[in-house]
Point group: C2
Chain length 207, copies 2
């Protein structure tokens, strides 16, 4: 299929925040930004993640479009429960997809480049499905909690306090503008940050 | 219709960023946050806006769900062109709707309260339509340019420089993560901010 067809599945130009599912033997989910530019699509995966290991080995994965803040936050810090996956048969393999996605696209990796910290691949769409989905108005609380999760991963990597301030600002917007599902996602995120703080401070519980 | 039915039209709990269309004689569009809480919906409109005057007079308007950043930014600073409106007949009146909305809901105002700066109304849905729409992955550049437009209106009201810094931060995300339509919206926003700056500095062009 052509890259231009991806407009129909919600993966448009710019960076699309999607949830990658991968791992033929042990399915795994993680939020990733796919980069689409000049009708080419790229993914960058950092070393140390399960997604990196799976995609490096199998060179195939699915990008799942969803607006569910709980799925984004949960998959940022741990794997999703089995009940969130379904499988699409392809060349005698079962590719894991997100069950309740708005759409899912299976990509094959080409032109893989490795750097010290990451791998970058140009990716080629080979199968796509759009599922029934309701419209949803823009909710500032939704993007804010996803932004907060991104800041949390940066805090986890660096231990720099300014990310905690940014998380606070984002979650203020989530508690003001979000619906219940956004607030539930914020609660999970706050718990995770509590755990990360303990790790950052050298495994000592400072409370 | 019941408020709970609005889930199907994308107006869920929390604050939905939609574009209000109103004005039977002279249709007008403006971005507004609708507040849905405990299955009641409210709107707050600030004095001095065309939307405020129309809704105060006619007590009816449409909320249009869209993810188009150009419509959000254009309607923040001026009215949309005629070609963006269509009309729904209701009790021998033609209610303006946004032509390319994902969904549109017509509301009637009840329980109107006036304060020194604004009016607040509980609003009752009386007609709703969902149109064909494509899925769209979350794009941080999209929400960032809408956030920037919100900061720009606050800068226009207050002249406080910190809003300019916040706009810069948002637009950095838009240029990094947005697609062409988000970047076009950012360009329009930057032009508008240029004009606002001249007004804030007392009508003097400081360049």
């Amino acid at each position: 299929m052509e890259v231009s067809e991806l407009d129909k599945y919600g993966i448009c130009d710019g960076i699309s925040e999607i949830i990658v599912t991968c791992g033929i033997e042990n399915p795994n989910a993680a939020p990733i930004g796919l980069i689409r530019k000049d009708n080419r699509i790229f993914i960058r995966l950092y070393k140390g993640s399960t997604t990196y290991e799976n995609v490096k080995l199998e060179k195939i994965f699915a990008a799942n479009v969803t607006c569910d803040p709980l799925l984004f936050v949960k998959s940022t810090f741990s794997n999703l429960e089995d009940e969130n996956f379904k499988y699409h048969p392809l060349n005698s393999q079962n590719i894991p997809l997100l069950k309740n996605s708005v759409s899912s696209v299976i990509f094959r990796c080409e032109e893989i480049k490795h750097t010290e910290q990451a791998m970058t691949a140009e990716i080629i769409p080979i199968y796509a499905v759009a599922n029934y989905h309701r419209p949803k108005a823009i909710n500032r609380g939704l993007t804010a909690v996803i932004e907060a999760a991104i800041h949390a991963t940066r805090y986890e990597l660096t231990g720099i306090d300014k990310f905690l301030d940014l998380i606070d600002q984002c979650l203020e917007t989530t508690y003001k503008c979000g619906g219940q599902r956004e607030k539930d996602a914020a609660e999970i995120l706050l718990n995770e940050i509590g755990e990360i703080k303990k790790l950052v401070s050298g495994g000592k519980d400072t409370e």
